[in-house]
Symmetry: C2
């Protein structure tokens, strides 16, 4: 089944202890699409400036990502420059130029409007709501958000929550949104405002998926080298939503599997700059990493347990 | 099989956002013994001052903990006063009085020396080494340590590593000891210095067990209320070592189960002050929490996986 994602299509310049990348393709839309394209046909909606190196998106297109919803507008592209020091957990933002992204109004092409799976990546909640006006009732809508919108667009974000099935956000954002430090309480607070499920991403510490009656946890894989954490969360979302779109199954058991696929894709994303690693891997790599995730938490039942 | 633990037997005064406890029984030895006593006969070696309320240890004794190695010396008991603010992740130490603990020289009673399982809780590495001189070759020796010893007794700690099968320490301590930020690298560094296995405790983020060829991860249970985190690590170690001593099985498969039992016992410890909750629970509570841990990470295999 097809998967629609609306998000940023940016150029990232990143410095880590291991090297530098200049103007590499980035943004939530690109990471999500590169990741999800391993599972399902992806329709990407976003905006780039007249300076965007469109040829760098060709590999995405070759992987089945439909870019006809990526508008090229007069002006400069969204650029982000950041740096990670040795803990690699939090980026220091050095520069952000929104460019054409500051006037972005997503227009969902006619052909994309009946996508059964929709992901509203981290953009202004007013635009996320606007996208929902344009699409036909999807089977599952999920959204992401960030600290900036929680602070500056709280009423619109709370309105959005009424219309999504699931939200992904990181632990700090869940705490900020709910004003609850405890994540179980934070997730409940959020679910009471609309979404039936909440995925709380904890970076290197894994991810929780909460629903009314249960909680699921998947660890992040303990990699020996984390090269560049940029885009890990969006790659997680791409693997998660991609797997759901591929299987068309939104049962709880399958959502759990999807979370693990999300963790698998996040673990690949951080092994290189930009979407490099996501574009390089194939099904065998994904299945082999999936098996590593299973082994990581596997416990044989005891015989004659007391 | 019996389990010998050498550690501190202290009095803790703790303040959390939920209340206060004054002079409650604490210290690594007490938490470990209270936890491990659910699985195996425990022999506790430690020291208390002439002011120690020995009657408070009776419940431990009733649970099968042999206290004949707890020496009562002239002077004041080891006391710790700490406070947790709302994140509950790190304690602020307000006061530490070592008292008789500062002159502690563990004397292992004759009857304890052939214990097949030995845990050297967090004390001076010189004393941990001294204990190893006194015991007969156990089947498995594990130790814990802390930032203070890593800094002040580094050579002795490195000597100790040559003589233990396993070490438990938290993520910050593993990084400090190895000078590696990445935990996979930190664990390898430590294993190269002796122990065949390293357990890295990450508090609310769960625990890793590393060995040469594999890694296992168990999450901490996402509790809605964490009441007092004091002693969680020692209760983890008690559950882990207790389960090994109970089963007498040190296969990799069983060590993985033991880590989960460790997480189970840690999750109980934080639900009340001191060892209160550990003394209150029974087998049914432990098995029920164990099932919750299993459900937390359980993923059904897909049919016809691609």
């Amino acid at each position: 089944m097809t998967l629609l994602v609306v998000g940023s299509v940016a150029l990232d310049s990143v410095e880590t202890p291991f090297g530098k990348a200049e103007n590499a393709i980035g943004g939530s839309g690109n990471f999500f699409a590169a990741s999800a394209s391993h599972f399902a046909p992806v329709h990407l909606v976003g905006v780039v400036g007249s300076d965007y190196p469109m040829d760098k998106l060709v590999p995405l297109q070759e992987r089945g990502v439909d870019l006809s919803g990526v508008e090229q507008a007069e002006g400069s592209s969204f650029r982000w420059r950041g740096r990670y020091t040795h803990d690699l957990n939090s980026a220091e933002t050095l520069e952000t130029h929104l460019g054409v992204f500051s006037h972005f109004r997503p227009k969902i092409p006619e052909a994309f409007r009946n996508a059964p799976f929709v992901f509203l990546a981290n953009i202004d909640p007013r635009l996320q709501l606007d996208v929902l006006q344009q699409v036909e009732r999807p089977r599952l809508v999920a959204c992401d958000t960030m600290n900036f919108w929680i602070e500056s667009r709280r009423p619109e974000l709370l309105e959005l929550l009424k219309h999504v099935d699931l939200i992904t956000l990181n632990d700090g954002e869940a705490r900020q949104l709910s004003d609850k430090y405890n994540l179980v309480q934070a997730a409940r607070w959020i679910m009471e405002r609309g979404p039936r499920r909440v995925i709380i991403k904890k970076g290197e510490h894994g991810a929780f998926m909460f629903s009314e009656h249960e909680v699921f946890f998947a660890p992040a894989y303990p990699l020996e080298e984390v090269f560049d954490p940029t885009g890990a969360g969006d790659s997680f979302a791409g693997g998660f939503m991609g797997y759901l779109a591929k299987t068309g199954d939104i049962s709880t058991a399958n959502l759990r599997r999807a979370v693990v696929y999300g963790c698998v894709m996040g673990s690949f994303a951080v092994e290189r700059f930009s979407v490099e690693r996501l574009l390089e891997i194939g099904t065998a790599d994904i299945q082999s990493r999936l098996q590593q995730f299973r082994d990581l938490v596997s416990v044989e039942e005891e015989l004659g347990a007391s």
